[in-house]
Amino acid sequence: MTSGTGAVQGGALQVKGEVVSLKPVGDYLHLTMTAPGVAERMRPGNFVALSVGGEQSAMLLRRAFSIYRAQASTRGGTVEIVFAEHGKGTRWMTRLAPKDTIDVVGPLGRPFALPKQPVACTLVGGGYGMAPMFSLAERLRARGCSVHMLIGAASESRLFGALEASRAASSVRITTEDGSMGHRGRVTDVLPDLIDKTGSDVVYACGPMPMLQAVSAVADEHGAHSQCAVEETMACGVGVCMTCVLPVRGDDGVIRMVRSCVEGPVFRGDRVLWDDVGTIPDGTLGAANRGARNERSDARDHGRSAP
């Protein structure tokens, strides 16, 4: 099933999976597929990249999804994801049926870093961003950490895993922007208090970029580390194309445009230059000039941009 004899061991696999089930959960869909080998290697925070549209598809690029659950099995493990219908690729995915084949590449990306000590942890998920939090919770509990979950969404139907959370965590807080469930507002309304009360040392977060930025700031202010799983547009998902970069400050203090597919998707929140995502910040290694966002290549001046 796996491609590439002689390929480097470890790392990601490309396998032909088979859809086991596709079930609605609130506004999302929960897809279970076989993906032999992928399940076995998965660590919380990893993602899979799925090809979409079938054999004669005009959609060339894979779609990335956080792994929700992975179950090893002698008959070939299964991988589960939770996804929202967004554009044309995920629309195609909503029509998958059991036994359909699906090409899976994974597990991809750096997983969440786990604390060495049995500390208290807060896990924050926005919408389908909760998906990777359950396997993370399991690992954390296995290390003796206490796990608190904070689940946010625009409305109740976009909350994912609220029920499961009560089994997975010592405490669960819920926020919705429209107040249809839990606290009316955003996760960051609740987070400061939660960090303090639980004495969390680490905050894990997955969700929209603005949420991650806010979570990272709150964690900072409250003396906690943060581990944020970002979502950048990715062409390859495996580290070869350089489309998925964002500005991150390294251990050496240098800002680099780093690939979120292999050096992420999980980053230390305090290392990401959140305000500068979508730009090349001043001082970035190799930045040709200041404020590159303002110096977009002008099609008037030259025939083409460098590839």
Binding site: G286, H302, P307
Partner: protein, 310 residues
């Protein structure tokens, strides 16, 4: 089992299939999916003199059967590349084709000097499809004279036995004129095509999607343009080796380029769809040749022009 071995401007390759520059980084990541030493060659991402941060994101847009990219040649610079990236390929015994990109002729020369002095390099690909800062940012390969200037300048620094290929852009009125210019200037062959200049506009904001506004169009969508370019250049310069690239997805696609006159081919964007694609293309090319009863890839070369095999 057809004979896939390929003699490309003096280098012998086990098969004519390579990765395309910028679509395989420096090979290491693809090592997860296939044995990079089995592929004809690994063409590395165009490297520049100094570290380069590239363009702001978004850097890609999916388009019908293709994609746009505006990476802006992000890379670590030649020092870091030679010290950290190239050795991985060399140690394994892969055949690295090192792609270089400069903003000035001098930069190309300097890069060439550095690359040719590094052990284990199989060939040099000179990506002249990038803007020339000394000439109003016009792309070198858009002008036969500017293209020739780069090739002439690097030529003396490339030792015997190390072939040097010029990477051409299709965004020109006559790609044959550019190919002829680089051939006359001493290139051992040409890699064609680079991406087509394109752009996409966000349906919600009505602003350009790419951080770089315009970007390069690649993928199966552009294959007919690439095949045409290879065919034209092979017709005009039948002795000039061409490496065909642009939208190759299958072994049959690769064979289309070979029939058009390509000595070797590269797989680019399709790697993003299928990271195992390069070695799959090798296998499929083999079975296509078998199916047609053609004994070797060499026999198929240029077939479309009515030569051998027809």
């Amino acid at each position: 089992m057809a004979d896939l071995t390929t003699e490309l401007a003096g280098v012998r390759l086990p098969n004519p299939v390579m990765t395309a520059s910028g679509c395989a980084a420096a090979g290491q990541e693809l090592g997860q999916f296939f044995d990079v030493t089995e592929l004809g060659a690994i063409v590395t991402k165009s490297i520049m003199r100094f570290p380069r941060s590239g363009r702001p994101t978004p850097r890609m847009v999916e388009t019908p059967s293709g994609m746009l990219n505006s990476i802006g040649l992000q890379g670590p610079g030649i020092d870091s590349f030679l010290a950290r990236d190239l050795p991985w390929l060399v140690q394994r015994g892969a055949r690295p084709f090192v792609s270089i990109a400069g903003s000035t002729v001098d930069e190309f020369v300097e890069l060439t000097r550095r690359v040719v002095n590094s052990p284990g390099v199989s060939a040099l690909e000179v990506n002249i499809s990038c803007p020339n800062v000394e000439n109003r940012g016009l792309v070198f390969a858009c002008d036969p004279m500017q293209a020739a200037r780069v090739i002439e300048a690097v030529r003396p620094h490339v030792p015997e036995g190390l072939p040097m290929f010029a990477k051409l852009t299709p965004d020109v009125t006559s790609i044959v004129d550019v190919a002829r210019a680089v051939a006359d200037a001493g290139a051992d062959g040409a890699t064609m095509i680079n991406t087509l200049l394109g752009m996409a506009i966000d349906p919600d904001t009505l602003r350009p999607i790419l951080g770089g506004v315009t970007g390069g169009l690649s993928g199966p969508a552009i294959r007919p343009v690439a095949v045409r370019a290879v065919y034209q250049v092979h017709a005009a310069l039948p002795e000039f080796p061409v490496i065909g690239v642009g939208g190759i997805r299958t072994g049959a696609d690769a064979l289309e380029f070979v029939a058009a006159g390509a000595t070797a081919v590269q797989v680019g964007t399709v790697i993003f769809n299928d990271p195992s694609a390069p070695m799959r293309v090798v296998r499929e090319l083999d079975s296509e040749l078998d199916r047609l009863g053609i004994a070797s890839v060499e026999k198929a070369r240029g077939c479309a022009h009515g030569g051998v095999g027809q």
